[in-house]
């Protein structure tokens, strides 16, 4: 495949694979509650994600190590268990919220309660992983995810004021509900910088056999794909601000969100929203289940690879085979999918330093990166965003839980 085509496909899959339950719910809540005021959090999370995805791809291209593999080798198994357990727990909750998102989309379309969809959805996800290849998971779901561009069309049709939108890029204090404001801000950062994304990306780079000749492609795919993907999440925020915030509606339930597209796009808006939610969450659930399997298998030195037959990497396949039904059980308990999604994202932000600091140490180690170690800008941007997001989450999460 020509490099140009690979770049195009990489950017397109980055766009199509960006929107999922977390980014959709947090952007919609932010827009509904605070208008354009939280655009900056989305921009910050997207820039940080682009840096981290680029780093994960660079590590894989230069050292031919995946992230967990390099972490275990560099820091030893005892240290590695800390990020392993943290990322596994957070990713498990995010997986449950993505499964909830697919089930909700099916409930919206059919009227059949979401708990009845859990088993078929898990079976569908498992079959896709069991029978499919890495390319099918990465490209297939992401290409279908291009349906989420409907939010951009909706936002353009609603015609937001460019000046007000630009003003939202500058952080500002809210006039009301500061605890909620900061909680949503860290949830947005958590939704953008989910560790599963760069674990999945680094494993994909190794599966696809990237080497140093891919460094340019990696940079363009990470920067372009994430920037355009972040643009779709921004479009969700704009639609929510224009339809819900202006009408005095705050998002307490997923049921309120489809109207942000039916309002500008009519009957097709509802259909496109349901398709976006279903496809976005299905694709993300596939990636998270795989990222969990990669994390455990690579970290513990097992044989791994989505393109291998399950019998050739049995323990790797066992991880996603167990993770999917266990995550489905969380939804069956009747937990509110929106609350689960938002809290999962805030917890992701809280856990960022645990995943980011070892990554940065690796990215500055010439033994792994040779001449391609990090520059100061990448180090400073990622470390600052992670630490600030963690500190704000540490304060905002208890305020949100105990303050109602």
């Amino acid at each position: 495949m020509s490099k140009l085509l690979e770049i195009a496909l990489g950017v397109v899959t980055g766009i199509g694979g960006f929107l999922e339950a977390g980014s959709l719910a947090t952007a919609a809540q932010a827009g509904a509650a605070f208008g354009f005021r939280l655009v900056w959090a989305l921009a910050l999370g997207t820039v940080c994600l682009a840096f981290m995805v680029e780093m994960a791809g660079r590590l894989a291209s230069v050292s031919h190590h995946t992230l967990p593999d390099a972490m275990r080798e560099r820091f030893g198994i005892r240290f590695f268990l800390v990020p392993l357990v943290t990322v596994a727990l957070v990713s498990f909750l995010v997986l449950a919220s993505e499964i909830g998102g697919v089930c909700l989309a099916l409930q919206f379309a059919t009227g059949v309660p979401l708990r009845w969809w859990v088993a078929p959805v898990i079976l569908g996800l498992w079959l896709f992983l069991w029978k499919g290849t890495f390319g099918m998971v990465e490209k297939g779901a992401s290409l279908l995810g291009l349906v989420t561009i409907a939010f951009v069309v909706g936002a353009l049709k609603l015609g937001p004021s460019p000046a007000e939108l630009a003003a939202g890029l500058l952080p500002s204090l809210p006039g009301h509900d500061p605890a909620k404001y900061w909680f949503i801000a860290v949830s947005i950062v958590g939704a953008s910088v989910s560790p599963y994304l760069f674990y999945f990306y680094s494993a994909g780079a190794v599966e696809d056999g990237w080497d140093e000749s891919y460094l340019g492609i990696n940079r363009i795919v990470a920067g372009g794909g994430m920037a355009f993907g972040g643009g779709i999440a921004a479009a969700v925020l704009v639609c929510a601000a224009m339809v819900l915030h202006s009408g005095g509606i705050q998002v307490d339930r997923y049921e309120q969100i489809p109207m942000i597209l039916s309002s500008p796009l009519g009957r097709w808006g509802f259909r496109l929203f349901v398709a976006s939610l279903a496809i976005g969450c299905f694709g993300a659930a596939l990636e998270i289940a795989l990222a969990l399997a990669y994390l455990v298998a690579q970290g513990l030195g097992w044989r791994w690879g989505e393109s291998l037959q399950p019998r050739q990497a049995a323990r790797f396949a066992l991880v996603y085979t167990l993770a999917l039904p266990l995550a489905g059980l969380v939804i069956v308990t009747g937990i509110d999918p929106l609350k689960l999604t938002i809290f999962s994202m805030a917890l992701t932000a809280l856990s960022l330093p645990v995943t980011v600091v070892p990554l940065l140490v690796l990215m500055n180690d010439p033994q792994y990166l040779g001449d391609h170690t990090n520059g100061w800008l990448g180090n400073a941007a990622v470390l600052a965003v992670s630490v600030v997001a963690c500190v704000v989450a540490l304060v905002a999460i208890p305020l949100q839980i105990f303050g109602g």
Binding site: Q107, F108, A109, T110, G111, V243, L244, G247, G248, I249, Q250, D252, R253, E255, Q256, P258, M259, S262, S263, G266, R267, G269, F270, V395, P398, L399, I401, F402, G403, G404
Partner: protein, 75 residues
């Protein structure tokens, strides 16, 4: 550590007036949701199956907010 936890938890405690204000805001938000739903229904942009789901969610959330409001006002 215990002191830090105690400080955070005490900062989280909210007054009944603040809880009542939140409940009222939630009720107003759901009333606005129902008004928007009515407009979308009139335009025919949403299927009846979905409208029934929003109505059910609104009834549940409004009942919860009214209960929180009563509890806050009783304190």
């Amino acid at each position: 550590m215990a002191l830090a936890c105690a400080l955070v938890l005490s900062a989280c405690a909210r007054s009944p007036a603040s809880q009542a204000a939140d409940a009222r805001a939630s009720l107003a938000s759901w009333d606005s949701t129902l008004a928007l739903l009515g407009r979308e229904r009139a335009r025919g942009t949403l299927p009846e199956k979905f409208i029934a789901q929003v109505l059910r969610a609104a009834a549940q959330e409004k009942a919860g907010a009214e209960a929180r409001l009563r509890a806050a006002e009783a304190r």
